[in-house]
Symmetry: C2
């Protein structure tokens, strides 16, 4: 892209908009010009943003009209779960670069279409797989790559959230998606990325057991995946974390390898590493020194790479969709190609 | 049984013989009269036991001859994994009460035969599922029964061991069995017992990845089970715990229920309970005040019950065998009857 300011718009205010807005002040080349709801009636309070740098986004009712009139360089897609894939596809069709909430899509078709468009048009596509930027996960990724735990054979990850207040549309699968595509995808991604593995098969289970007022939202899900190296991965996901818990979430990762065990524990805050030589309960954490928005801008300007490349965002969304399918159809799905 | 001393013999010195010998001094009504190897060449050093109370077990080469000549009241079966089912069956056929290493058998047929004999002959059968006696698990069982975490919907358990030195016969499935039947069975049992659930289906995975010198021993295993209440359970088992780890094993249990989350962590030593009202990182542990041998003697003398009744020992062994089968055959097995 040239040196002109990059015109940016937002569609939707449902997801992790702060990953962009919270960093916007650091990138004077970005101009936040407009926003629109991802569905009628969406509260845009979180993205109707005016700051000292003069971002004064115009509010549209219809995101298609906004895209047509504003012809933005960048579309931030952050809407109701079911809308993110279709909106990103239309943005890509218009040649816009994209920062999108995960998952990239709710169906294999959506994801395939998006992958094709992003490749054909040479777009920068950043997925909000922001847990890669958290120091324990980032550090763990480096350590496994350095061979500290040897070959990873057994991976176990957890995402557990408080239920809190969930919007009405969590009650319908058609709008919510699944807990694997919305929550599990983080764990699927950080486990795969940190361990450096590929998933070759998946069987899974999910159900709404404790929150009948939102039947479309599975408050319990479990996933078992085969790994390319003959190992296995387990994921347990729930919305059963009690209100009195010390944090909203309790994210974990454990990797048992041929030469050591690495674990992210204490609600995602501590990195415990054990090798045959040494037990280190609190491994020093390395701050990545980069952000999702910073990487996106750098990629746009050919100065750097995304920490979560588009293809990894697409393939992990596919995995989440297949895992959901495995649970719905109660069967093991092979993911091996060729 | 009458008030005469109970004649007790040991077959095998491979398993957790200390659960009996370590408590023997407290039960003057037991007379340890003889022992024999479970297979030719087995080292009996751990059970050739003489104490101040005058237990001077005679050592036999052949356990069948020992059973015939000594006509014991009690047989402790503690041999090489594959021998425990067949030896227990022969002991039961002779009308002996039994304390046996888990699993009760390596095949569904063995377990069914043992179940039938124990019922027909009115025998006391105690399985060495001794983790139920550990204070964190015992306390957790009481808390779940009291309803502290509500209905348990998601159960996750771990057994991780150092590899250390494993005997030659770990190298063959025919003698070792599987890591699910030998190690996993503890987790299957304590998870089921603490959560108060039944397993309705199982899919599983296992492999030997890091220890090719013992190909019959799976150093990684993962298990996913459906629960009777619509929930799900996950188990991860490994022999990948590094030598520098603080303990030999790292046993865990997490139960997420409709009203709270209960967790046994810090290598099985700490009980963390979170309800909607309170987060209690170290719940006070309740010592069970009983032992496997004490319960066995009490059951024999009609003074008490086993903490792990025979039927639960049989059904959890069946589950471990079915889980192994699920992994070997790469399919999900339904466990629901009728």
């Amino acid at each position: 892209m040239d040196d002109m300011p990059h015109k940016m718009v937002f569609v939707g205010a449902t997801g992790h908009s702060h990953l962009v807005l919270g960093e916007l002040e650091h990138y004077s080349q970005l101009r936040y010009v407009a926003c629109a709801p991802s569905y009628p009636g969406e509260d845009l309070g979180r993205i109707e943003y005016v700051d000292a740098d003069g971002h004064t986004p115009q509010v549209y009712d219809d995101w298609r009209i906004m895209l047509d009139r504003e012809t933005p360089d960048i579309v931030v897609v952050c809407g109701r779960h079911d809308t993110n894939g279709p909106i990103a596809i239309e943005a890509a069709q218009r040649g816009c670069h994209i920062i999108a909430e995960k998952p990239a899509g709710h169906s294999l078709d959506e994801i395939a279409t998006l992958r094709r468009l992003v490749a054909e048009k040479g777009l920068t596509y950043a997925s909000m797989l922001a847990m890669r930027y958290e120091a324990p996960f980032y550090t763990a990724h480096q350590l496994v790559r350095q061979g500290l735990v040897g070959e990873p054979y057994l991976v176990a990850a957890q995402k557990s959230y408080r239920w809190g207040v969930r919007p009405d549309w969590y009650g319908r699968r058609s709008t919510y998606g699944s807990t694997m595509t919305w929550v599990g995808i983080h764990a699927f991604d950080y486990a795969r990325w940190v361990a450096g593995v590929e998933y070759t098969s998946v069987c899974a289970y999910h159900a709404n057991l404790g929150h009948p007022e939102r039947p479309g939202c599975q408050d319990v899900a479990t996933v078992m995946a085969g790994l390319h190296n003959g190992g296995s991965a387990l994921f347990n996901l729930d919305y059963l974390r009690p209100e009195a818990a010390s944090t909203h979430g309790d994210d974990r990762l454990r990797i048992a390898g041929s030469a050591g065990v690495l674990e992210i524990c204490d609600c995602g805050s501590r990195l415990h590493v054990i090798t045959d030589e040494k037990d280190t309960p609190s491994w020093p954490l390395q701050d990545p020194g980069r952000t999702l928005l910073g990487d996106f801008v750098a990629a746009l300007e050919d100065r750097g790479d995304l920490l979560a490349p588009a293809e990894e965002a697409f393939s992990i969304a596919e995995f989440a969709v297949r895992a959901t399918q495995a649970a719905d159809e109660r069967r093991t799905i092979s993911l091996q190609t060729g």
